[in-house]
């Protein structure tokens, strides 16, 4: 069978989600952000909630998320996305409110907002992209940077005496009474992408049904910051990141305490 016989609209099994705008993203080639944007756009379309979805964009590489997904967005000050999401979800209780944050945004400057929003059990979803580095500003050390990992500000590797230890903030959040679903996923293989999609879907459902705060951490790559090719970055992530940030559900309860 020739490709031109197969390439017909009725045979299409996968296409670009309708909610992704027809623009080129500014992300580096192979960046995990693109895959997660695609999953969010697919899910909002499949769940039929695009009209009542409010996204809160962070500061970091994903700062232009509002240009890429065709829903309502609010741009937050650095780290303050959970605080804005609190306001948005309390004022519009019928809406699906989610934040999309990186590790520099969520685990460094926004630690207080993140922990207190989760502790209050706000009915929001937090999508947390953890690549262990500040990607946008040129690859400096983040709180989540692994010990011994070389970055622009730790050229000899992160040293626990000087820089402290990597912060597994999702583990902290799983201990709080306000959270109902805390999971850690990745998007390095087709199977992992499907699992991540199921996790984000569950988190969105929890938010719509007012069960508490849901957090989906996605262990990601930053091939520019790590100075590797996209395929090598995925390999490096499997070999090094998963030891400190193992995948799987950290908490999955019916309702916040």
């Amino acid at each position: 069978m020739k490709p031109e016989d197969i390439i017909k609209p009725e045979n299409k099994v996968y296409s670009r989600p309708r909610l992704l705008n027809d623009v080129n993203t500014h992300y580096c080639p192979g960046c995990s952000h693109g895959v997660v944007h695609k999953l969010v756009a697919e899910l909002l379309e499949e769940m039929g909630v695009e009209d009542k979805a409010i996204g809160i964009a962070p500061v970091g590489c994903a700062v232009f998320a509002y240009n890429y997904i065709d829903i309502d967005w609010i741009e937050a000050a650095h780290g303050r996305a959970p605080a804005l999401a609190t306001a948005a979800s309390r004022l519009n209780p019928e809406c699906l409110v989610f934040t999309y944050q990186g590790d520099g945004d969520l685990a460094a400057i926004g630690t207080a907002e993140t922990i207190h929003a989760a502790n209050r059990g706000e009915n929001i979803t937090i999508i947390f992209i953890n690549n262990g580095i500040y990607g946008m500003t040129g690859g400096q050390m983040a709180p989540t940077t692994l010990l011994g990992m070389k970055t622009a500000t730790t050229p000899y590797g992160r040293n626990s005496e000087l820089n402290g230890y990597p912060l597994a903030i999702t583990d902290l959040l799983a201990r709080l009474d306000g959270t109902c679903y805390v999971t850690r996923q990745a998007v390095h293989t087709p199977a992992a992408v499907r699992k991540t999609k199921a996790a984000i879907k569950k988190a969105f459902t929890n938010s719509l049904e007012k069960r508490g705060t849901s957090i989906v951490e996605i262990v990601s790559t930053c091939n520019s910051g790590w100075k590797l090719t996209p395929a090598q970055s995925n390999q490096w992530m499997v070999e090094h990141m998963f030891e400190k940030y193992p995948l799987g559900d950290l908490k999955n309860v019916e309702h916040k305490a």
Partner: protein, 75 residues
């Protein structure tokens, strides 16, 4: 047993040549252009071996720029 035929199309203008689809493909269908580049200077992906495609959509699932469309026929 039913035979499955697949085909992929790559939006070469949008492709950034990250190589993730080439790694994800279980049937070695896709490859990056060795010399040609698109408007933005990336060696975009193309189906080098289209007959081997089974339409599993692994390439499209991992594509960060959503530039791959997948078609599948079962006979």
């Amino acid at each position: 047993m039913a035979k499955v035929y697949g085909a992929v199309t790559v939006d070469s203008k949008r492709c950034k040549g990250c190589d993730l689809c080439v790694v994800a493909c279980p049937c070695d269908v896709l490859k990056l252009q060795p010399k040609d580049v698109n408007d933005r200077g990336y060696h975009y992906a193309f189906p080098e071996n289209p007959d081997a495609c089974i339409g599993c959509a692994a390439c499209a699932t991992v594509c960060p720029d959503a530039c791959i469309e997948v078609y599948r026929v079962r006979e």
